[in-house]
């Protein structure tokens, strides 16, 4: 018999419905698991056993009263950039080390309404700027598949927590690949939904026009349930899109026969890692077996994606992060001799190197005289990339490509080489630029037994299609069932 922490949300929900276990029992199992492995994995910035157990007790009351929802009582890890009222939200930064938000983010409100149990705040790269969690001021999370490797980032803690059995589900945020990359590196299922489908209210902003909250889960069915919880219009977020969001579980059993997946030449021509190429080819065969056709196509402006991203995201970040000045909340330097000096000292002490690098990049790109050459040009490239995808979707239902160019790499391998680190996101960034939904599922393993992810990109608001692809693949393969030995 498996331990409770090893089960999926759907399995646990069934046990809860049959009164074979309680949310408190499940939560205890998860907390015990955290106690056993967290020292090695470091998936969390803050674990909150007391509040988790009290949420679990409330969930049990709901279940006893018979008014539970599908995910009532299920433990979830929340990335530490989403505000939970009264619990500190650090964003992995010293500058917010002691910041306690006085309000709930909209997603957290929705988790509460569902009756889910928040076990703690997952580790992340500082302000979600990074691909490895190495920029977190609280230390690097470890990849549960090999503790010497990074789990991917920036939502590395969320992915590692699920892979290590420290949470059943998790929420992350994805600005340039921050959900999909760690999902791929930790062999879990993760999705960045369409921009505007999950409220950003209460998500500490990195790059507002690219940031999107999304789910991590053990498989497609769990993921579809969590999508049902978090998707929906929010009047508090002007960029949230008012529309009818479907019940995503209805896509779980749909056949793929007759579907066409597009393979962008610009992506596959860059693939030079034999394991990734092999996994992609094997998975393609599985899909072909399910009746899926593959077409090659071109997304001509994809090559400019990273360059444009590293103008737009830092530009927005330089403005979004201006509020951390020591005046109102968060870290304030102890010694200073003027107001300006207070700003400078506070920010010099409070921000890490990568955050400073991006603030400087963005400040420069927005400066008068440079704005047209950088920001405006990047915005144009963004439109071109969006149009590329639009024409691609005339030829296919969704796009099939790797999530990352390589399997997870060693801690320290790229942290001193920002450009190499940035290139990790080459396959994920264009999806954010176009605001499209993107999904990663475990695709297989390298010769060394390291996870390799598959990525699917769908037209706006076609998350259901992505769920359908993931579910069909997972019904045929067992990569997603493999768990690391800890």
């Amino acid at each position: 018999m498996s331990e409770l922490y090893e089960l999926t949300a759907v399995e646990l929900a069934a046990l809860l419905n049959e009164r074979k276990t309680s949310s408190v029992e499940i939560t205890r199992a998860v907390l015990d698991r955290i106690a056993a492995v967290e020292e090695r994995v470091h998936a969390f910035i803050t674990v909150r056993p007391e509040s988790a157990l009290s949420m679990a007790a409330e969930a049990d009351q709901r279940i006893a009263a018979g008014n539970q929802r599908p995910l009532t009582g299920i433990p979830i890890a929340v990335k530490d950039n989403m505000c939970v009222k009264g619990e500190r939200a650090t964003c992995g930064s010293k500058i917010l080390e002691n910041f306690v938000p006085p309000y709930d983010s909209t997603v957290v409100k929705r988790l509460r309404e569902e009756g889910m149990v928040i076990v703690g705040a997952a580790n992340m790269d500082e302000f979600a700027m990074g691909s490895s969690t190495e920029t977190s001021c609280f230390g690097t999370s470890r990849n549960p598949w090999d503790l010497d490797l990074i789990p991917g980032g920036s939502s590395g803690g969320s992915a590692a927590a699920i892979a290590a059995g420290e949470a059943i589900m998790a929420l992350g945020s994805d600005t340039g690949g921050s959900i999909r990359l760690p999902a791929a590196f930790c062999s879990v299922t993760g999705m960045k939904p369409t921009y505007g489908s999950v409220s950003r209210y209460g998500l500490v902003a990195y790059a507002s026009s690219l940031d999107q909250i999304g789910p991590f889960a053990k498989n497609a069915s769990d993921l579809s349930l969590l999508l049902n919880v978090i998707c929906g219009h929010d009047p508090s977020d002007s960029t949230s899109v008012p529309r009818d969001y479907p019940d995503f579980t209805t896509f779980l059993e749909q056949s793929l026969a007759g579907m066409t997946l597009g393979m962008p030449r610009e992506f596959f021509s860059k693939l030079d890692h034999p394991d990734v190429s092999r996994v992609m080819a094997e998975a393609r065969q599985v899909f072909e077996g399910l009746g899926v056709k593959f077409v090659e196509l071109s997304l001509p402006h994809l090559d400019y994606g990273i360059a444009a991203y590293y103008i737009i995201a830092p530009s927005e970040a330089s403005s979004n992060l201006a509020r951390y000045d020591g005046v109102k909340y968060g870290h304030r330097a102890e010694q200073f001799d003027s107001m300006i000096d207070m700003y400078c000292q506070t920010r010099a002490q409070g921000f890490g190197a990568e955050v400073k690098r991006r603030i400087m990049l963005g400040t420069y790109a927005l400066s008068s005289g440079y704005y047209d050459a950088y920001y405006l040009k990047a915005a144009k490239i963004r439109t071109l990339i969006t149009n590329d995808f639009k024409s691609a979707f005339e030829k296919c239902d969704a796009i099939y490509c790797p999530t990352a160019p390589t399997p997870p790499f060693a801690i320290g391998a790229k942290i001193d080489d920002p450009i190499q680190m940035y290139l990790t996101d080459v396959f994920t960034i264009p999806v954010n630029m176009a605001g499209l939904p993107g999904l990663t599922i475990p695709g297989g393993f390298s010769a060394d037994g390291l996870p390799v992810g598959l990525q699917f990109i769908a037209p706006h608001f076609k998350e259901g299609l992505l769920v359908q692809l993931a579910a069909a693949f997972q019904q045929t393969t067992d990569h997603h069932l493999k768990r690391p030995q800890l």
Partner: protein, 482 residues
């Protein structure tokens, strides 16, 4: 060589919405520091702005009133700069795509009207306030005003003199107040003005280098600051110097402007479209809805008073300075159809009582009906203009109807006369010898009788009235006695 000044004005008007521009906090003035705030206007991590539709409606009203092109799509932009009264360290404003462009307002100076073109009107949010401790090196931040909606109205550099600048500001303010979208209070900062000033040889078409003037919080200070700055620049240029582009601060205590920061020190605001707010769409439906809500504006009203009521232009201008005053005038004219006399009365007597506070008319203790009745009594010759003034003052002070006061006065006078008659009769009855001597020709005795009556009334009686009544009564006794 003769020089001329070129002035462009940037006006910030606080909108009278109930809640702030991007959150639901109240805009009420005077609450305890930081009590009208929430995570959004405090700039907490993770919060997002949602536009107050009312602020947009007010902006569209102003744009229509100023004959602007209203853009179907405009954008909010972030203006980035660090200051502790700005919690996000950026202000949500509009930059490349303002909500309205290319308008005009009419101004009047020396009896002539002229159009001043507007470059643009855009929406933005206000900053908070810093309060500096006078004894310690500590400053406090009050964010109650943070996020209050503002519109910025930018004129073309077409204003030629400080007087024109004042006329332009008055014109803008009266439109805003007419629309009931701004209280127009310059001292309290709900109506603020910065100026760009340059000089050039008369007749030249290119603009000189400009200085930006700040900190002018009354119409008088605007005129003073502009005059000082124009004189300074002309003198500088005459002496062979060159005006440098800079921001200058007006000091009301000395009446001079002094350099605050040079062009090199100017902020680079790093404007870019605010990704938290969608492009702002103003559809025809909203424009038409607002157009139907436009009241008659001051210039139209003024011209109508001249045309239809025969009021001189200057008087019509005074009467239409506020919507309430104009309304009072029109109400009164409806009941007393002599516009000229109503207008004179309002401009002299009423304005004197209001002490220049035209808005105070809203709480005027004398109603238009009361004033109309009073003026009718004057026209009928029932009372003199002087009596009417006294009655009006009494009515204004007591809040009572002037005609009712008049009726009362008349009754009191009548009852006074009856009482006095009795006292006079008694005095004459008590002094038959003196009466006889008076009647036989010793007219000086009248003084004696007056003195007696005054004694009886403890000096309360009107001596003139007593005189008249005594003479009449004595005359009566002479007839009856003979």
């Amino acid at each position: 060589m003769e020089y001329e000044a070129v002035i462009g004005l940037e006006v910030h008007a606080q909108l009278l919405t109930d809640s702030k521009a991007f959150c639901s906090c109240t805009t009420k003035f005077g609450a305890a520091p930081n009590s009208n705030t929430c995570p959004i206007c405090q700039g907490m991590p993770g919060v997002l702005p949602v536009l107050n539709r009312k602020a947009l409606e007010f902006t569209v009203l102003m744009a229509l009133a100023c004959h602007c092109d209203i853009k179907p799509v405009s954008r909010f932009a972030r203006k980035n700069y660090y200051y502790p009264d700005l919690p996000k360290n950026y202000q949500i404003s509009q930059y490349e795509l303002p909500v309205a462009e290319h308008g005009w307002v009419e101004i009047e100076t020396d009896g002539e009207t002229r159009r001043i073109s507007l470059t643009r009107i855009h929406m933005e949010e206000d900053a908070g306030k810093l309060i500096h401790d006078e004894r310690k090196p500590v400053s406090y931040v009050d964010l109650n005003r943070t996020g209050v909606p503002l519109i910025e109205i930018v004129s073309e550099p077409e204003i030629k003199s400080p007087e024109e600048a004042a006329a332009y500001l008055k014109s803008l303010r009266s439109i805003l107040v007419y629309l009931r979208i701004c209280d127009g209070n310059m001292e309290e900062g709900s109506f603020r003005c910065d100026a760009n000033v340059s000089v050039r040889p008369k007749g030249e078409s290119t603009l000189g280098v400009k200085a930006e003037l700040k900190n002018m919080n009354s119409f008088r200070y605007v005129q003073k600051a502009l005059q000082y700055e124009i004189d300074r620049q002309i003198e500088l240029v005459r002496e062979g110097g060159r005006v440098v582009q800079e921001t200058r601060l007006f000091d009301p205590s000395t009446g001079i402007t002094a350099s605050m920061r040079s062009k090199e020190q100017a902020h680079d605001y790093r404007y870019f479209p605010d990704p938290d707010l969608l492009p702002l769409r103003v559809d025809d439906d909203l424009i038409e809805r607002m157009r139907s809500r436009l009241p008659e504006l001051p210039a139209e009203k003024r011209d109508r008073f001249v045309r239809d009521l025969g009021i001189p232009l200057y008087d019509a201008g005074v009467l239409t300075a506020s919507r309430e005053l104009a309304g009072y005038f029109e109400e009164t004219v409806k009941l007393c159809p002599n516009p000229k006399s109503v207008s004179n009365w309002i401009m002299t007597e009423l304005m004197r009582m209001l002490k220049g506070d035209e808005a105070g008319i809203a709480n005027c203790p004398v109603s238009p009906a009361g004033l109309a009745e009073l003026l009718r009594l004057v026209e009928q010759g029932t009372i003199s203009g002087k009596m009417a003034k006294t009655l009006f003052e009494k009515a204004y002070a007591s809040g009572r109807d002037p005609v009712a006061l008049f009726e009362e006065d008349r009754k009191v006078q009548i009852s006074d006369q009856i009482e006095l008659g009795k006292i006079i009769g008694k005095v004459l009855d008590d002094n038959p010898g003196e009466v006889a001597r008076y009647l036989s020709g010793k007219k000086q005795l009248l003084g004696f009788f007056v003195g007696q009556v005054m004694k009886e009334t403890s000096g309360q009686a009107n001596p003139k009235l007593v005189n008249g009544m005594l003479i009449a009564e004595l005359a009566k006794r002479s007839t009856s006695g003979s």
